[in-house]
């Protein structure tokens, strides 16, 4: 187990390094300085500004300064929000995005698993077809379409729920629904197919031959094995949800990180782009790491054997 964790940890560090390096050099490949368009800046001011942001140093020095700063989780000042550092912006926006993301993944995982298990147990029955029809629809409808549809119907036409912002649990329902439907559908389908496969396994037959009660067979023998593949895709789903928050935040006018990020891209605010990208990547890679560890805990075979990467 320890060697497994160490291996995963090293891969995490490598990934983070690749992301950081990639981001840095991509940003510096862009022609032009962010201060070119600033009105009223003369050469001296520009030089001062560049010195302030270390833009006048050779590129490898800048790279090391950059590596050092991200190692200490200091993402530097924002260029377009001169009074605030990237950390402050992150500190303001990220908790809200994080909350949206976490609520979404919890809703998606729970409802997805329940739907998938029900569908598998009633294989080829009405519930199965209904659940899978919903799942395919859920996967097919992009979250921004679903979001506008939900606002149109639930908020504008029927006036059941508030259409925007993120101030109370009632406000959280629509954005969460819009964002959770896709991942929920993916989880439901995966749970169903892996559950169906597990149910044909010999050890399920053995359990039946022991005369165990059906619910015991499902919960103790089938579910734990069936959820393994679900755990493995959690990381990817999380990445999807977090990027999905950008679009949901835009539609529902939620003051999360998404707005700053898009703003930063459009305004070429390099430190902010780099900061948010690297921060988000770190967060996701760390989540993937946690998921891998969880997988190792769930599957006793990991402890002895090296996990094959597929």
């Amino acid at each position: 187990m320890a060697s497994y964790i160490i291996k995963r940890f090293l891969i995490m560090i490598m990934t983070v390094l690749v992301i950081a390096t990639l981001t840095f050099f991509l940003m510096h490949a862009i022609p032009g300085s962010p201060f070119n368009e600033e009105r009223g800046t003369n050469d001296v001011v520009q030089a001062n500004l560049e010195a302030h942001y270390h833009l006048n140093e050779p590129i490898y020095i800048q790279y090391f300064i950059y590596l050092k700063s991200i190692a200490t989780l200091d993402f530097g000042p924002s260029i377009k929000h001169p009074t605030e550092s990237v950390n402050e912006l992150l500190g303001r926006g990220f908790p809200i995005s994080f909350e949206l993301g976490m609520v979404t993944i919890i809703v998606a995982v729970l409802s997805g698993i329940v739907l998938g298990v029900l569908a598998a147990l009633k294989h080829n029955g009405f519930i199965d077809y209904l659940a899978m029809a919903c799942a395919v629809l859920g996967i097919s409808i992009p979250n921004f379409v679903l979001a506008t549809l939900l606002i149109q119907k639930m908020a504008v036409d029927w006036e059941l729920l508030p259409p925007a912002t993120w101030s109370s649990p009632m406000h959280m329902i629509l954005p969460t629904m819009a964002l959770a439907t896709g991942p929920m559908a993916i989880i439901a389908r995966l749970t169903r197919s892996s559950m169906l496969e597990v149910l044909t396994q010999d050890y399920i037959k053995t359990a039946k031959a022991k005369g165990l009660k059906p619910y015991k067979i499902v919960i103790k023998h089938a579910l734990k094995n069936a959820l393994m593949p679900v755990v493995t895709i959690l990381g990817t789903l999380l990445a999807g949800i977090l990027t999905g928050t950008f679009v949901i935040e835009k539609i529902f006018a939620i003051p999360g990180m998404g707005r700053y990020f898009i703003e930063a891209i459009n305004q070429r605010d390099y430190p902010l782009i780099m900061g948010t990208t690297v921060f988000y990547s770190f967060f996701l890679v760390f989540m993937l790491f946690l998921v891998d560890i969880a997988y190792g805990v769930l599957d006793p075979r990991i402890k002895l054997h090296k996990k094959e990467s597929d």
Partner: protein, 330 residues
């Protein structure tokens, strides 16, 4: 001897999108207390389906018992509800499956898997259950049972796992054990050990065993009686000596000739030509006709009746009919 199990005219079908497969077509046999009955035949002949039917573990749909009776200790099983069957499975009848590598749940400890059946059927404490599990592991020949209980299946070899599977089947002290190809997936040396284990268990517990296999070597070692299945029917049944030395169905003879024998190395192995019939549309007559070296016209048109060659030896073949013997005399 007392009859433990009677199977009467059992029919099992599977409905697939290609049509209905009649996997078992009127199988009847008896099993006495403490004896070992081997059901032999090629793959696809319906022997595993028969075994699963006794436990009522046919996946349904698509499978279904369409006719017949299964009487265990005076109780009719075919009509029993799933709930009632749960009190029979594992308690009165247990079953072990072919592949020990997949028969154990990889995510649960051996101890958990051994005791869960026990704890469901008999209301006993975890400690008492563990004690019983250790005793049974001892019986099937697994050393250090106490530590072994805490381990997971992947920490055991194939032969060890099959011992655990057998222990799991025995823990509630059933009267009947159905073993579906229990040694097929194992190395030859391990096979012998497992067969010896079966003999030992039978001696110590007096359990009756139905052994499903295609391996006549296994049969020769531990069976008391042998039923030969072909295309969903039992075509010949008799005690071990009768089948091995006085086989009378051409298929049984063919089976015996296709097995290598160390005591007569000069003999050539003779394979049975052809393949078994398609059970989507089983033939009206004897299903073996097309491959039978002694086939007659009648074989194709009418299914042969059962002929008793002794109290224990019955065969279903037209060659036993008087009319078939006359031209042969010519």
């Amino acid at each position: 001897m007392e009859k433990l199990l009677q199977v009467k005219d059992l029919h099992v079908s599977f409905v697939t999108y290609g049509g209905e497969v009649q996997a078992v077509r009127g199988v009847s046999f008896d099993l006495h207390k403490g004896e070992t009955l081997a059901i032999v035949g090629e793959s696809g002949c319906g022997k595993s389906v028969t075994a699963n039917s006794i436990m009522k573990l046919i996946p349904s749909p698509p499978g279904k018992i369409t006719a017949g009776k299964i009487i265990y200790n005076g109780q009719e099983l075919v009509t029993k509800e799933e709930k009632e069957m749960r009190h029979i499975r594992g308690v009165d009848i247990s079953m072990i499956f072919q592949d020990p590598m997949t028969a154990l749940n990889p995510t649960l400890t051996i101890g958990e898997q051994l005791t869960e059946g026990l704890r469901q059927h008999q209301q006993i404490s975890r400690q008492a259950a563990n004690q019983q599990a250790m005793d049974i592991l001892d019986l099937v020949g697994i050393p250090n049972p106490k530590e072994r209980l805490r381990q997971y299946p992947h920490q055991f070899s194939g032969g060890m796992r099959q011992r655990i599977v057998i222990a799991m089947a025995l823990i509630c002290e059933p009267e009947l054990l159905i073993a579906d190809e229990p040694t097929t997936a194992l190395d030859v040396t391990i096979q012998a050990q497992i067969l010896e284990l079966f003999e030992k268990i039978q001696k110590e517990t007096g359990i009756a065993i139905i052994l499903i296999t295609h391996d006549l070597g296994v049969v020769a070692k531990i069976a008391d009686r042998i039923a030969v299945m072909y295309a969903g029917k039992i075509i010949e049944v008799g005690d071990k000596r009768e089948i091995f030395y006085h086989a009378s169905h051409p298929y049984t003879k063919g089976l015996l000739l296709s097995v290598p024998r160390l005591d007569r190395p000069e003999e050539k192995l003779i394979p049975i030509d052809g393949t078994p019939p398609d059970l989507f549309s089983p033939p009206v007559g004897c299903p073996f006709t097309a491959r039978c070296p002694q086939a007659m016209e009648v074989c194709e048109k009418v299914y042969p009746y059962q002929t008793a060659l002794s109290d224990t030896h019955q065969v279903e073949c037209w060659l036993q009919d008087e009319k078939a013997r006359k031209p042969a005399v010519l």
